[in-house]
């Protein structure tokens, strides 16, 4: 991969299975770990069977979106009148577990981290729900309409103290974050641009829980924004910011960090082909994601496991893989402690990801979480037990099922001695099959390798 990182032309060319890089359980599991939150072993095996193109179709299919959304509607309606936004976080976790449109949900989580808004400050479930729905409806669409909407989004403007925006003393906060965090990245604008952009947003305000444009408070004088002159409205200003050359680069880089590699320095040259695709397609996110997730770089041996599992990926992934129910209220407390509860990002920059997920406390917390989930009562498993969920039977040789489990759920090879340890736990005397399977899952979950995605 070292070569591909320095070969932008080759890196994003479509990958095809070869004898050296076959479409097998390892690569199917890799694709689905990145594109989905987690996948039962049966489905992984059937993806190997049906082949690579069919699995890509599965990943990008939105066929079941409408019926699933309809099935969630009643609950969402009830939630929007709830006073406690924590319930909304629980609802979102449930959605992640249940939705058949996994990539859409994961990309929505990506955008939530990008346009990070914290419910603790907004304290308005209806506004938060609306924001998440907005992000979901544009997550795989086009970037400009998403940003235009976010710029008028009630939760966002409350979060960034921008409910009021008077022409005499414009509030700089939203203007700053739009350029620094949402579109351009640091270094591509000046403090003067922030002040000018803030003037374009004057008159944008929240009244009684709704966005409105107060034309008496809009500064109609000329502004000079990023080298352009004119009496720009807020909307025009957003358009100008979005069409700076660095926006596409900034977004493409962030997508690669989230879906491909979060511990590598990514050169401008490597990112440029994706940035060009964004520019040339009106920022078509789905098409760009497809380029990314079908690329040679994506399937390169050294890309597999070169990311850290976020706490949500880990927890929701395990629930989905084991097809097990869990008290999501309790889970939300644990995720908060692990630093990754949806709707509660640490600040407007969102979650940094990568190494930031791992420290002494979070390692212990992650291991405790795997233990808790693996040791649920049998009736919580929709297949009846943890062994059935993982297709393990009393007569199956532990050598076989332990290895298959590791191949499906650990991105990089485990040391030989660790494999022996797992095998010992898997064949332990005086333990029931379910206990042994739970022991193996837990010990596997406590390896450094399991933390990789």
């Amino acid at each position: 991969m070292a070569d591909l990182l320095h070969d932008p032309k080759q890196a994003w060319k479509p990958w095809e299975p070869t004898a050296k890089q076959p479409w097998d359980l390892r690569r199917a599991a890799h694709l689905l770990r990145r594109a989905e939150f987690g996948t039962p072993i049966r489905e992984l095996e059937s993806c190997v069977q049906t082949g690579y193109p069919a699995t890509i179709d599965r990943v990008f299919s939105l066929a079941q979106r409408v019926p699933f959304d309809q099935s969630m509607q009643a609950m969402e309606k009830a939630l929007s009148s709830s006073q406690d936004p924590r319930q909304l976080a629980v609802w979102w976790l449930l959605r992640m577990v249940q939705t058949p449109c996994q990539l859409l949900e994961k990309t929505t989580l990506f955008w939530h981290g990008h346009f990070a808004t914290n419910a603790d400050k907004v304290l308005d479930s209806r506004a938060m729900l609306k924001q998440i729905e907005w992000l979901r409806s544009h997550a795989l669409g086009h970037f400009e309409p998403m940003v235009q909407g976010i710029s008028r989004d009630v939760a966002m403007l409350i979060y960034l103290d921008s409910e009021e925006n008077r022409k005499t003393r414009p509030n700089e906060n939203y203007a700053r974050e739009l350029m620094e965090l949402f579109c351009l990245g640091p270094g591509h604008y000046s403090e003067k641009d922030i002040k000018e952009l803030a003037r374009c947003f004057t008159g944008w305000e929240i009244r009684r829980g709704n966005f409105r444009f107060n034309k008496n408070q809009h500064d109609h004088a000329e502004k000079i924004l990023l080298g352009q002159r004119g009496d720009f409205s807020g909307e025009q200003a957003v358009h100008i910011v979005l069409n700076q050359p660095s926006t596409a680069d900034f977004i493409a880089r962030k997508l690669v960090r989230f879906f491909v590699l979060d511990d590598r320095v990514l050169s401008d040259e490597l990112i440029e082909p994706l940035a060009a695709q964004l520019r040339e397609s009106d920022f078509d996110i789905q098409a760009t994601l497809k380029t990314i997730m079908t690329s040679q770089l994506f399937f390169a041996d050294d890309t597999i496991g070169q990311k850290v599992k976020s706490p949500v990926e880990m927890a929701v992934g395990l629930l989905r893989s084991l097809e097990v129910q869990e008290d999501l209220n309790e889970l939300s407390n644990r995720l908060l402690a692990l630093g990754h509860l949806p709707l509660y990002p640490p600040n407007v920059k969102g979650w940094g990801g990568g190494r930031e997920w791992i420290n002494a406390s979070t390692f212990l917390g992650r291991t405790n979480l795997v233990y808790k989930i693996a040791n649920q009562e049998s009736e919580q498993f929709s297949r009846g037990s943890i062994s059935k969920a993982l297709n393990v039977f009393a007569k199956t040789d532990p050598v076989i099922w332990v290895k298959k489990l590791v191949d499906a759920y650990v991105a990089v090879p485990l040391p030989d001695d660790t494999m022996r340890q797992l095998l010992e736990l898997g064949s332990g005397k005086r333990r029931s099959l379910d206990q042994r399977v739970a022991d193996v899952v837990c010990a596997m979950g406590a390896t450094p390798e399991y933390q990789l995605n």
């Binding site: 103290d161 700089e172 906060n173 320095v265 190494r355 917390g365 797992l422 022991d439 406590a446 990789l452």
Partner: protein, 404 residues
């Protein structure tokens, strides 16, 4: 990489150290505990004020009309200010700091900042964390460099809190422990001993050298195991909180005091106090934050004094920037530049070290700094922790006259 491996091998390689759930404390630990209890090694406690603390409403230039002109709704009335001298005084919520100053335990460094100020939270915080020495490929913090180059032994630094580990503590050779809370900091894996033992044993296996990310996780995992066992064996639960305010910061500092008292050889503790990004309706929120800061700090100092650690413990606050001199339309303040920094405990020269920045000599509406924060770092590193600062900070900085 090689040195890091060797270090890990040396630190965690011993099977005797990683025995999950044994009642007897590992022998190595017993030794280091004994040694450190006798020592009077100096300790630094950093409190990061996240969000950009409004320095002007912290140390208030109450004698200056410019202050009242710019802070038309947010100014603290002269009569409310707890006066330090003829020009400046405390925000009334900072009575904790006022008392520390009265006891000769607090120093104020005014107008701390750096040239070409960056007004982005994240960029400016990174500058403070790295002492302006960030590289994309190997980011490392100023305290991390201090740990790497100068502090040996176990647990040289501890970050106490649930947020991500601050970049200031990022090391290259050995990871720094983040502890979210003392009572959560342990494995809970039921009664089946072979499972806990197996997990501990798995962490002893060597990992492939070239997978750096895996190495990082492995080091943190090993350290988590040994540290959690250690803490379990030395910490007594009880009335540690009794004399502290029931606030997040109060709880954090109570835990830090407990860790210091436990005899850990740790030299650096790091906690954060978040919420200072006061763009709107600042008055009440800011007062509450200052109240929490002053009260917790004061309780911490009292506690350490009773336990006999006050003389060897220095506390330092900082924030990524101050705020704009003129308040905004939302009864708040936008991102600014220079602000005061506080040190407490230790053997400080108490009181304000220097003049308040000039309110008439502004740059883009912001205060000009009169002391570079790296001068404070250099002083703390050399005169307190006793380590050479030039390499850590990239260049020599003029030291301040902070200590007796």
């Amino acid at each position: 990489m090689f040195t890091r491996r060797k270090m890990i091998q040396a630190t965690f390689g011993s099977a005797a150290l990683i025995t999950a759930g044994t009642a007897a404390p590992p022998f190595l630990w017993g030794a280091s505990r004994q040694a450190s209890q006798k020592s009077d090694e100096k300790i630094l406690v950093v409190i990061q004020l996240s969000g950009g603390n409004d320095g002007l409403n912290t140390v208030i230039p109450y004698a200056n009309d410019e202050y009242y002109r710019n802070r038309f709704t947010l100014a603290v009335e002269k009569s409310q200010v707890a006066k330090i001298d003829d020009e400046i005084g405390w925000h009334p919520a900072l009575n904790g700091f006022a008392r520390l100053l009265d006891d000769g335990q607090l120093a104020v460094v005014q107008g701390v900042g750096y040239p070409n100020p960056n007004r982005s939270h994240f960029e400016s915080m990174d500058l403070w964390h790295t002492a302006h020495q960030n590289t994309k490929e190997f980011p490392r913090g100023w305290l991390g460099r201090c740990v790497d180059e100068h502090l040996s032994g176990e647990l040289p630094a501890i970050h106490y809190g649930g947020e991500k580990q601050p970049l200031a503590l990022t090391t290259r050779t050995k990871p720094v422990a983040s502890i979210q809370s003392l009572d959560q900091f342990r494995l809970r894996l039921g009664e089946h001993r072979p499972l806990s033992l197996g997990i501990a044993k798995n962490l002893e296996q060597q990992r492939e050298h070239r997978h750096e990310l895996l190495g990082f996780i492995h080091e943190n995992a090993s350290m988590a195991m040994t540290t959690s066992q250690k803490l379990e064996s030395i910490l007594s639960t009880g009335d540690a909180m009794k004399t502290y305010p029931e606030t997040t910061l109060g709880k954090k500092l109570a835990a830090v005091a407990q860790l210091i008292e436990s005899g850990l050889p740790t030299r650096i503790y790091y906690v954060t106090h978040d919420g200072f990004d006061t763009h709107a309706n600042q008055a009440a929120a800011h007062a509450a934050l200052l109240q929490q800061l002053g009260d917790a700090t004061q309780a911490f100092h009292e506690d350490l004094k009773n336990k006999g650690h006050a003389e060897r413990t220095l506390l330092m606050t900082f924030s990524e920037f101050g705020r704009r001199v003129r308040e905004n339309a939302s009864r708040g303040t936008d991102h600014g530049t220079a602000a005061p920094l506080f040190l407490a405990g230790g053997r400080l020269k108490a009181g304000p070290l220097n003049q308040h920045p000039d309110l008439l000599d502004l740059e883009q509406g912001d205060l000009k700094h009169n002391i570079d924060y790296r001068s404070v770092y250099a002083t703390v590193l050399e005169d307190w922790l006793g380590v050479e600062s030039t390499e850590i900070l990239g260049q020599p900085f003029k030291k301040l006259n902070l200590f007796i």
